[in-house]
Symmetry: C2
Subunit: 224 residues, 2 copies
Amino acid sequence: MLKLFFMTRSEENYLKAIFHLARKGNKAVTTSAIAEQMDTKPSSVTDMVKRLAEKGMINYRKYQGVSLTKEGRKAALSIIRKHRLWEVFLVEKMDFAWDEVHEVAEQLEHIKSEKLIDQLDKLLGFPRYDPHGDLIPSKDGEFDETAKRLLTEIPLKSTGVCVGVRDSSVPFLKFLDKNNIALGDEITVLDKEEFDGSLHIQIGDRSMHISDQIASNLYVKLKE
Amino acid sequence: MLKLFFMTRSEENYLKAIFHLARKGNKAVTTSAIAEQMDTKPSSVTDMVKRLAEKGMINYRKYQGVSLTKEGRKAALSIIRKHRLWEVFLVEKMDFAWDEVHEVAEQLEHIKSEKLIDQLDKLLGFPRYDPHGDLIPSKDGEFDETAKRLLTEIPLKSTGVCVGVRDSSVPFLKFLDKNNIALGDEITVLDKEEFDGSLHIQIGDRSMHISDQIASNLYVKLKE
DNA sequence: ACAAATTTTTAGATTTGTCTAAAATATATT
DNA sequence: AATATATTTTAGACAAATCTAAAAATTTGT
């Protein structure tokens, strides 16, 4: 028998913060780390984590930090999903620039309506990534950031390891060979041209400029 | 020198409620009326109206009820504008039915982003009425509910006085004549067919059924 | 006009989310 | 291992928004 708790805006924000912190160093998340992330005081965090623990959203033992429960992870992913879908909406439908969406999405992510999110998803064509290239959790809570993806889809400044090609034609493979790009190479996306979607990348010790056509045929796995 | 106060969600809701109550009986709005509208206690209302008065949003004298100031009216209209634009959005873009939009719009109306609302307005084609037929306040705070409008645009169950025609061709005037519809007549919109937009109306003591084409060529002024 | 009924306000308490300052616990150093 | 340092928790306070119960003011009825 599953109990459904109402989550306040603040509780949702804490869950989100804990999720993001846990994603990095994968040990228990400390009180002070949460305080820094949320721009608040450790004592406030202690109060909140007690409440979240009572609601079954996190595991908490005094002085030992916290980790998300199944429920908590599900709730956090649901909020992140909403945030990222709204970001796509703002850029695709409302002419926002990719770097001015965050603040508004922070507000929109707390709107409570399952139907609204389902329709939003549909309106946007079920996008898999947000305007920053971050993966959008699926409705059923799937969130595999390690899955291979196209080089065009990874966030700026992130690094991917080449794991395959979408186009396996001779001309494309020749291009890769000629430019010394091989499976296993690490590619960092330095910048993207607004104009044509072409990418400035760092590969090993050299940097180069590749077209959108090239990038959208290279599969990578995100590093770190 | 105008001071811009941050309005909390609760304050915004009170302003909206006061605006709607003032629109009806046009004397000072009583504490108990607000309490009933907001589903809260009179003592809570007293607390809140004091705060709103301090912020210059309402005129308040103990035991004498409240009225909106210029500032307060502007703030209320801004919230109502957002609410109604979001309602149009939900119906037009998100496949919501006109009778299931209210709850979600109540949440969306508090999102703070001028750019978002401007873009929303544009995306929707600068609509003048919401899905219930209610007038959407303009960006600059204009809100003339007494202006003439098409019979197709007034809310269900509301009554309008015929004040003119858009199409002044002989066939249309003949139709009106044949059906005993004249300037000065009061028409109440009883129901609207989803299918073809035709209207069931009450005119004097008889009721009749008119097509969307007829209704969209008759100007009325809203009564009461 | 004056008592009765109603409405409004005050006073004091509660909840959520926050803070500061002090106490408790854990970690690091020698 | 004992002490010093850093982190975490507790305790007490505050602001927003609400409540209940009691007091004050207004309105109503005859």
